[in-house]
């Protein structure tokens, strides 16, 4: 019989306390792993992916607010910019392409954005990925071609159970109680294939439709033809790059010029979004602290459980000594038991952590439209297992030392 079998038999003998200790470790590991995975995925999505937008040309105001509104369909745009200014910027050699948009409308809690029709055909939300309504890609119907037509993002269609041909009345605003354009019946003519981006949570209508919605004033309605006075919420810009991903140095000058003007500002998501994490970083830290406390409490629980079972096992360990087991073997057996419990806890916690991540992904998808993955390999995947084993070893040290010091004869109590 090998020592591993002795360890496993002992664990089986004290299954309840061993199981509780393993589960408490699993909870700590799961919490830390889920928090880390979601945090790293969010950080990556918010700061690195950029959703295909190099810069947002928007009104003066909070850059973070503009980025959240333009890219993630959150917040509200703090103002509008002139169409002519957008055209001037788009003509700058540093700008590779631009797509105007207007935000501020909604339907059933989802944003209704007016966009240039070429946004749906030419814009790459990820390198090499454009919007599609092809059934092969998971979409349906066609892109809009008329004033009273709309296409819905995949998540909107799924959540609302939309059917092609179904009509809706957009709300003039993004909060409950805002007025509804009751006389504007816009039909869904297409459902976009899933993109795994916030675009899945938006409804798109033609840019010109915004101006002609009933209830907007005459001056707004005139903007459909009067380009000199037309206003838009902003524009997604693709900037000129050199040597792969690096921006052309002229971009900095363009950004300076725009930001110095009183007409608009150029918001670079890659610069702005990390600020969001500075703002909400405390939430992350609190979750981490909770996870660490759970893990430390789990380690303490493991130590107590081992000490408690050690009391029951004193005679067993003394008998092993009588059979020839050395003190260091007994020390190793107890430590191996702690390691086995920690390993089991870490493995269960790893699975549980990814399950929690999966649940988190579901909510993130529902709230932001961004696709996180359950099996994302975060730094915690690589770090938590060894950390749990180290913690388990530390927790097992005290009971192992107690077992090492066990008095053989005093425990066996020979009588004559």
């Amino acid at each position: 019989m090998n020592l591993l079998r002795i360890v496993l038999t002992s664990l089986r003998q004290h299954l309840f306390s061993s199981g509780l200790a393993a589960m408490s470790i699993a909870l700590g590991v799961a919490l830390l792993l889920a928090v880390t995975s979601l945090r790293e995925q969010a950080h990556r999505q918010f700061t690195q992916v950029g959703l295909g937008v190099d810069a947002v040309l928007g009104p003066k105001g909070s850059p973070l607010q503009i980025a959240l509104n333009a890219l993630y369909h959150l917040e509200e745009m703090p103002g509008r910019i002139a169409w002519t200014y957008y055209q001037a910027v788009k003509a700058n050699p540093m700008v590779a392409d631009g797509f105007a948009f207007i935000t501020g409308h909604s339907y059933a809690g989802y944003r209704v954005n007016a966009v240039e029709s070429r946004f749906l055909t030419d814009f790459e939300y990820l390198p090499g990925h454009r919007f599609s309504v092809a059934a092969a890609d998971g979409g349906s119907g066609r892109l809009f071609s008329g004033k009273d037509e709309a296409v819905a993002g995949a998540e909107v269609a799924r959540a609302l159970g939309l059917q092609l041909g179904q009509t809706f009345n957009p709300t003039c605003g993004v909060t409950a109680g805002d007025p509804v354009h009751v006389n504007d019946h816009i039909a869904f003519v297409g459902i976009l294939a899933p993109t795994g981006t916030p675009h899945d949570r938006a409804i798109y209508i033609p840019l010109e439709s915004f101006y002609t919605l009933e209830g907007h004033g005459a001056s707004v309605a005139a903007m459909v033809k009067d380009l000199d006075h037309r206003e838009i919420s902003g524009a997604y810009l693709k900037l000129q790059r050199i040597r792969g991903d690096a921006y052309n140095p002229g971009v900095t000058e363009l950004q300076y010029d725009i930001n110095q003007s009183t007409k608009a500002q150029l918001v670079m998501p890659a610069e702005v979004m990390p600020r969001l994490f500075l703002i909400i970083g405390w939430v992350d830290q609190v979750l981490w602290a909770v996870g660490m406390m759970v893990a430390l409490l789990a380690a303490a629980f493991l130590a107590f459980a081992l000490v408690a079972t050690l009391r029951e096992r004193r005679r067993d360990l003394a008998l092993l000594r009588a059979l020839g087991a050395r003190r260091r073997t007994i020390f190793g057996l107890v430590l191996a038991q702690a390691l086995a419990i920690s390993l089991a806890g870490a493995v269960i916690g790893w699975l549980l952590g990814h399950l929690l991540t999966g649940i988190g992904c579901h909510f993130v998808k529902a709230e932001t439209g961004m696709s996180f993955t359950t099996w994302y390999w975060s730094s915690a995947d690589f770090g938590l297992l060894p950390a749990a084993l180290v913690l388990g070893t530390l927790a097992g040290l005290w009971p192992a030392i107690q077992a090492y010091r066990l008095g053989l004869l005093a425990t066996l109590k020979p009588q004559s």
């Binding site: 019989m1 003998q13 059979l323 020979p414």
Partner: protein, 236 residues
């Protein structure tokens, strides 16, 4: 020419000037003081004596569980005084089988696993088949996979005997193995122990309080004739 049976057998235990004493609150309490004693290989002896006469302490010294205060103790050809604690553990694992009065078995293990534990820490190799055969030899062929809680005290002692034998030791030390058994079981166990030791060619030193059990042994030694310390703790 003398036959092999008539040849003097080498001793399995040699004692010279053995002294064991405990220190309590600054006072030295002598427990064992044996000037000289030797036990020939293959002997089956029972040590008799009143409680407190030092029999179990003596047995612990022979098993390497307790280092003597002074003197030389050579068991199975090894001077135990030359070994440190780890060395004595290793030596015990290889050469000596020990049976205690009760609670001899590890509760979470089956009878067979308990027997296999007898070899786990030794250099002796043996198979599960050997252990199963030994359990059959002590009358537990049908109880191989039972846990101690499913066995009677007598059956548990049989498992302990099988475990002591599994590593094919030269010496078995039994500290009142029948002390917690009813008379019939006690007699059966003592007879079994004597028989299997004889069959396997190993020596047996057994401490016993029960004269009716000791009566089954060919060689009975009154411990007081070996130990110069009286049960009241008076040294010579």
């Amino acid at each position: 020419m003398p036959s092999a049976a008539d040849m003097p057998r080498p001793p399995v235990i040699v004692i010279r000037d053995l002294r064991v004493a405990y220190t309590s609150q600054g006072a030295v309490l002598p427990i064992v003081d044996i000037p000289e004693w030797a036990l020939p290989e293959g002997s089956l002896v029972v040590l008799e004596g009143p409680s407190g006469s030092g029999k179990s302490t003596f047995l612990n010294v022979l098993g390497g569980l307790l280092p003597p205060t002074s003197g030389q103790v050579t068991v199975c050809g090894v001077d135990l005084g030359t070994l440190d604690e780890a060395g004595r553990d290793r030596w015990r694992a290889d050469h000596v089988g020990i049976i205690f009065q009760g609670l001899n078995l590890l509760q979470g293990f089956t009878a067979l696993e308990n027997v296999m534990l007898g070899m786990t820490f030794s250099h002796v190799t043996g198979s599960w088949k050997d252990a199963t055969a030994l359990l059959g030899e002590v009358g537990l062929a049908q109880r191989v996979h039972h846990r101690p809680s499913d066995l009677s005290l007598g059956e548990q002692q049989r498992v302990a005997i099988a475990r002591a034998l599994v590593k094919r030791p030269r010496l078995i030390l039994a500290d009142e193995p029948t002390g917690s058994l009813d008379p019939r079981n006690a007699t059966d166990i003592s007879i079994l122990l004597r028989r299997v030791c004889a069959d396997h060619g190993c020596s047996l030193v057994m401490v016993c309080h029960q004269p009716e059990i000791a009566a089954h042994f060919p060689q009975r030694i009154a411990f007081t004739t070996l130990n110069r310390v009286s049960p009241s703790g008076v040294a010579p």
